[in-house]
Amino acid sequence: MTVESTAARGKPRRAAAETTAASGKTTASRKPAASGKAAASKKPAAPRRTAASRKPAGKRQAERPEMVQLLTPEGERVEHPDYALDTTPEQLRGLYRDMMLTRRFDAEATALQRQGELGLWPSLLGQEAAQIGSGRALRETDYVFPTYREHGVAWCRGVDPAQLLGMFRGVNHGGWDPASNRFHLYTIVIGSQALHATGYAMGVLKDGADEAVLAYFGDGASSQGDVAEAFTFAAVYNAPVVFFCQNNQWAISEPTERQTRVPLYQRAQGYGFPGVRVDGNDVLAVLAVTRAAAEHARTGQGPILVEAFTYRMGAHTTSDDPTRYRPKEELEAWEAKDPMLRLRRLIEREDAADDAFFSELQAESDALAKRVREVIRTMPDPDGMAMFEHTYADGHALVDEERAQYGAYLASFADQHEGN
């Protein structure tokens, strides 16, 4: 499915036309006032903006107006006046490595679920650029609040991939210390974490700290009240939070048009902060836009919404079957925009890596998959008494009573065994 058809899907045609008219400034929306003025003036797209991108944009009319793009699906660079990005060959290789290892890890986890080692797996296939690009845009001191699909962001934050598997294996509900990597626990209830991120960002502001907070959520979550409330709180308190929406087009079987009648990034305007749509399959654009958004937050300019326009190429989780609800042609169209393929083409075009790099990376990803397999298969079940731990920090008489009773119950079997 093209962006054009998606935009048409998501909105009344007249709104789509307005979007196009205003879109010349959309990418400049770091300055809310400027963006508002542009929308009001309804001038045709400013020539100074289109000059640099006329050539590639001409080829992809549908993608041009709304989305920041620095790298075409063919692997060609595109200039953007607001989001210049210089990259070294080493950086390109680094991004490719991140995406490769994340995709390999994800594939391994999917396989492990099929083998019965995991109860469930939410694949990120197709969203590697959105996650690696945004994850690598952050500083160590920034704080991330993920959903349950941010395996690539977790990778960027230095969370051991094997740690992500515990909850899907069923041995815990998360289990890592969010503070150690500044990467919060996966949140299952849709959109809840947008408020946690906003509250945390309110604290950052009180502390006068030079930090940005990132709240990840999806297009489906944009319908949740908590996300709307997070927008309100963040706006009125000027909280340094970046709302990073990965619009992967589907919330299980519900398409984006079942969530919204306007492009999602435009929601921000109604709350009084800027929104920007970025090509979520373009790791360079996501990197540049998120970097700018985080800086926007850190420098006291308040919240900002980034909509990464991407596509979930797999199922929502291993429990669903996307062939029941989405056309094959749509998947094929997006496969042509595969985020990894596109970066690989750029690397080859710019001769940024040699064959040894790719073969070593292949070996590294195989080793990662092997390690993940081993971790999963040797991951111990928790002790039965573990369920009584950590319900309360300061203890609770009922928990103590039940722990003692269940402990005695278990011990009674041991006594019988000894008696025999």
Binding site: N172, P178, V189, G199, Y200, G225, F233, H396, A397
Partner: protein
């Protein structure tokens, strides 16, 4: 300093003031808590003295209040969030139940969420719909939360201090019908444990267990019964999660009879839990089944009917008579 006589509402205000003075990480937040001082004036003058940064007027969004309180706690703050009325807590129920209560466990103990949620609750003030409910059992059923409710000014002052210092999330139910009742508060004193029940009136013939607004009713029943030559012991539970069953058990073992009084509907309420556990613990001491007096399985009625709905003196005494008749 000698004890001061103050209304329960004033004691809460003094308690918040002390907490804000003592710990710079304590924040007060909620709808109307700042300039107005809260609809019951519990936060009166606090924003003026501690600033908008410590006493935060929030947007009108309960889930947002609790969700951002969670984020602030993750950042190292100790938010005391006010929900304006009992019936308005439900938009925040998801955040309280699925997030606030469980994050400590989910992180295997790494995360602590010292969030206090203050909720004026209960009836008897002639309010309109959703302003008079007693939803404590709905929270007590959730592991990870602690539920407390003071019945007098001294407990109001001290229990709120203790709730704020607690590293677990605490739902702090304030008996709004008792806001204006005065009592002695010794701010230099040493409080008892937050979750300990207290025998507020000793007696020999029957135990009444009550908490929050019902304690006053129970004490009135004990005074009335005394005139009939019946000696009632009144235990103020103070904490609904956990419940101090040891103190209650000691009382029931002596009196042999128990009546539980609360304003919430009896069906699936905390009285049922108390009856079951005390029956287990005191089976051979009980002279009568544990009886419960409380609200009916009906929506909280319009104000003109609430006196019939609430467990008043006569209904409590009727249950006492029934228990004594076995």
């Amino acid at each position: 300093m000698a004890a001061e006589k103050m209304a329960l509402a004033k004691a809460l205000n003094a308690s918040l003031r002390t907490a804000l003075e003592t710990d710079p990480k304590v924040l007060v937040m909620g709808e109307d808590v700042g300039r107005l001082g809260g609809v019951f004036r519990i936060t009166d003058q606090l924003q003026k003295d501690f600033g908008e940064d410590r006493v935060i007027d929030t947007p009108l969004a309960e889930s947002g209040i609790i969700g951002t309180a969670i984020g602030l706690a993750l950042r190292g703050y100790r938010p005391v969030a006010e929900i304006q009325f009992d019936g308005f807590v439900f938009p925040a129920y998801d955040q309280i139940v699925t997030q606030l209560a469980k994050m400590h466990a989910r992180s295997l103990g790494a995360v602590r969420l010292p969030v206090v949620i203050r909720i004026p609750y209960g009836g008897g003030i002639g309010a309109v719909e959703h302003h008079s409910e007693s939803p404590e059992a709905l929270f007590a059923h959730v592991a990870g939360l602690k539920i407390v409710t003071p019945s007098d000014a001294s407990d109001a002052y001290w229990m709120l201090q203790q709730a704020i210092q607690c590293d677990d999330p605490v739902v702090f139910f304030e008996p709004k019908a008792r806001y204006w009742d005065k009592g002695e508060v010794d701010r230099e004193g040493i409080p008892g444990p937050l979750h300990a029940a207290k025998v507020v009136r000793p007696g020999d013939d029957l135990t009444i267990a009550a908490y929050g607004p019902s304690v006053k009713t129970a004490l009135a029943a004990a005074s009335a019964a005394e005139e009939d030559g019946v000696s009632l012991e009144v235990v103020d539970l103070r904490s609904v999660s956990p419940i101090d069953f040891d103190t209650l058990q000691r009382s029931v073992e002596r009196t042999g009879r128990l009546v539980v009084v609360h304003e919430a509907p009896v069906f699936f309420g905390s009285g049922g839990e108390i009856a079951a556990r005390i029956t287990e613990r005191c089976f051979y001491h009980l002279e009568a089944p544990v009886l419960r007096v409380g609200g009916f399985h009906a929506p909280y009625p319009p104000a003109r009917l609430e006196e019939e709905y609430l467990p008043g003196l006569d209904r409590v005494l009727d249950s006492v008579d029934r228990a004594l008749a076995y």
